[in-house]
């Protein structure tokens, strides 16, 4: 039966195939008219949302979860898609049969050292082509947008997003040049705020991009990250600012006498990361970093960030999601 389906798919796909070189430098045969696409992980799935949300055959995890509040902004139809898991974190991969059943034409994979070859291995020879893109690195996002524009035959869209990404990158580069004394940042994760990411981790490199320094110097050991940090080492290092992901932790940090010993908490330099419609900085790491890093830079260095941040947020939501954001809506998404 499976073989029949395979043959059927092969026959169907050879007609309008075109050769594409993906961002990992591999040549892949891809059908011309893409109407059934799967993202291997949330970072790449959200990229498809930018170009052709109606082509998605499924999601990797629910649109709304503790780290992402998708349904406020994203297309309501996305909520009806099945959850097919994916290759990321410890998710364990998506099922090849389910993808075949949904006649998936293409998997858009995440070019990541921790994930390489996992997808092909678990497809067990099922004939679904995989192409790799760079969904999280801000420097590579312009190329990613142009690549996807070509792939989905929406070059103009790709170009618009790419040139926005380039503007943001050069804006941040000149901000970094202007910052004489970089602030030190502690990136607090987990319900107690005592997990963090290493300074070289792809989960935290936006800190450097915003012109600051991550106080947690270590080597990323796994895709998941979340290394434990002792409170004592925070006391010893006294970060200038604290970035918080967990909502409940943010709500308690100012009342906790222990955290009150940190200068950053005393000075209220504790910032909650927005999560609408996708986490602005990480988990998943995505193109949202284009606005998230600007928000971080504007928050840490108001004197160096020249644009009007609120106007920039509105512009971003308009360009990326086609949504005109109301004042009240924008304010709400910044609150924990």
């Amino acid at each position: 039966m499976l073989r029949m389906i395979l043959i059927f798919l092969l026959l169907g796909s050879t007609f309008h195939a075109r050769m594409i070189t993906d961002m990992a430098g591999r040549s892949v045969d891809v059908e011309a008219n893409l109407t059934r696409v799967f993202g291997s992980s949330p970072p790449t799935t959200y990229l498809v949302v930018l170009f052709k949300p109606e082509a998605l055959v499924g999601l990797n995890f629910p649109l709304d979860n503790p780290n992402n509040r998708g349904s406020d902004i994203l297309d309501a139809r996305l909520k009806t898609l099945p959850i097919l898991k994916g290759w990321h974190g410890n998710a364990g991969g998506s099922s090849a049969e389910k993808l075949l059943e949904r006649r998936t034409q293409l998997i858009i994979g995440w070019n990541n050292a921790f994930l390489n070859n996992m997808i092909e291995k678990s497809l067990h020879g099922a004939d679904i082509p995989v192409i790799y893109v760079e969904p999280d690195d801000m420097q590579k996002l312009p190329a990613t947008f142009r690549f996807l524009g070509k792939l989905f035959e929406k070059e103009q869209r790709g170009e618009a997003l790419a040139s926005y990404a380039e503007t943001v990158n050069s804006r941040l580069a000149s901000l970094r040049k202007g910052v004489k004394k970089p602030k030190s940042v502690y990136y607090a994760l987990g319900p107690k705020g005592l997990n963090s990411e290493c300074d070289n981790s792809f989960h935290a490199n936006f800190i450097e991009a915003a012109g600051a320094v991550n106080i947690n110097h270590c080597e990323q050991s796994s895709l998941i990250g979340m290394e434990a940090v002792s409170f004592e080492s925070l006391l010893a290092r006294q970060p200038d600012a604290i970035l918080v992901q967990d909502r409940n932790f943010y709500r308690t940090i100012f009342d906790d006498p222990q955290w009150g010993l940190l200068r950053a908490v005393k000075e209220k330099a504790v910032y909650y990361v927005p999560k609408t419609p996708i986490n602005w900085l990480d988990r998943p790491p995505s193109f949202m970093r284009l606005i998230g890093t600007q928000w971080l830079a504007a928050t840490l260095y108001p004197e160096h960030f020249k644009e009007d941040l609120n106007a920039e947020i509105t512009r971003f939501f308009d360009l990326f999601f086609g949504r005109s954001l109301e004042e009240q809506q924008r304010r709400k998404m910044m609150q924990p």
Partner: protein, 327 residues
């Protein structure tokens, strides 16, 4: 004579290690600050580092190390098997499942701890329930019950891992299962310390009977010992304290298997001496490993990884030089 001598020597080593651990850490505390601390005039931060951060953690490490080793020693005598660890009847598997379930269902840490403790007990009750269905078949069926219970709760844990959100809950679960003292707080410690101490004390009081049990059920009965009740009491105490170790610091393997071994090589199989020795050795060992874990790098190494990395070579060396065997 040598008995009191070795116990007091080990106690001395433990106290010295605790003082040492209190003195080192990431936050630098100078000699003058220490003398100010003793007079109560030190700045807030130094006092907080010593009394809120280091001291609870040190006490927790010692208690958990002692609890795991003592319950390991008790299990090894009860089952007359040197390869047995406290996890034999499923307590660690059950507690791990409970933690994971808690992390999945609730944002409250208290709920996580409660479920951890509850499922540690439930797993052991399940194992004993299986054994009870075959009344009279003795210890073998109890071990089998433990194997079944362990694999049941391990599978249930996998189900939880499968359903958890990979970006948020899953990392927390994986991290917790590797064990860490980084999250120990004074309030948790206040809740678990007394029951842990009581559990350890109970096993010490039972040590005389455990000696009899290790000769085999029939001989024990012949000597007039109520095998069943002694075993139930020992299992209950060991389960209680093992479950509480997971509540305090996640799953820490290897200690409960190896420390009793080392203790037995040092002082022989008499539980009256073996159990206190295990407690002191285990407490010292876990304290030293945790001190390493919190001082070596910027971010901490999960202690479950270190206990094996440090423990295995030590065990191999000791095994080579072993003079005193089992029984």
């Amino acid at each position: 004579m040598s008995r009191t001598l070795s116990i007091s020597a080990l106690t001395g080593v433990l106290v010295l290690s605790m003082l040492l651990a209190l003195g080192i850490g990431k936050y630098p505390i100078g000699l003058d600050t220490w003398s100010a601390l003793l007079q109560g005039t030190a700045p807030d931060i130094a006092g907080s580092v010593v009394f809120e951060l280091r001291l609870p953690r040190i006490i927790a490490a010692v208690l958990v190390g002692a609890a795991l080793s003592v319950s390991g020693a008790a299990f090894q005598s009860m089952f007359v098997n040197p390869l047995v660890s406290p996890s034999l009847l499923g307590v660690l598997a059950g507690a791990s499942f409970g933690s994971a379930l808690g992390i999945l269902l609730s944002e409250s840490w208290f709920v996580v701890q409660l479920l951890t403790f509850a499922f540690g007990g439930i797993a052991v009750l399940f194992a004993m329930g299986i054994a009870l269905m075959y009344r009279g078949s003795g210890i073998l069926i109890l071990v089998l019950g433990g194997i079944i219970s362990t694999s049941l709760f391990t599978s249930l844990l996998s189900v939880i891992k499968y359903t958890a959100d990979p970006y948020d809950q899953l990392p927390s679960i994986v991290y917790w299962l590797m064990g860490s003292f980084a999250l120990v707080e004074r309030s948790t410690l206040l809740g678990v310390a007394l029951p842990m101490l009581l559990g350890i004390a109970t096993l010490m009081l039972l040590s005389k009977y455990l000696n009899v049990l290790s000769m085999g059920d029939d001989e024990a009965r012949a000597l007039g010992v109520n095998v069943r009740w002694i075993r139930i009491a020992a299992i209950t105490a060991a389960t209680l304290i093992s479950s509480l170790t997971v509540v305090t610091a996640g799953v820490i393997g290897w200690v409960g298997l190896v420390i009793p071994h080392i203790a037995r090589m040092a002082v022989g199989p008499d539980n009256r001496l073996l159990i206190p020795t295990s407690a002191l050795l285990g407490g010292t060992y876990l304290l030293l490993v945790d001190t390493l874990s919190r001082t070596m790098f910027d971010s901490e190494i999960p202690i479950g990884i270190l206990t094996s990395l440090v423990g295995i070579p030590a065990f191999v060396i000791i095994l080579r030089n072993a003079k005193k065997g089992w029984g």
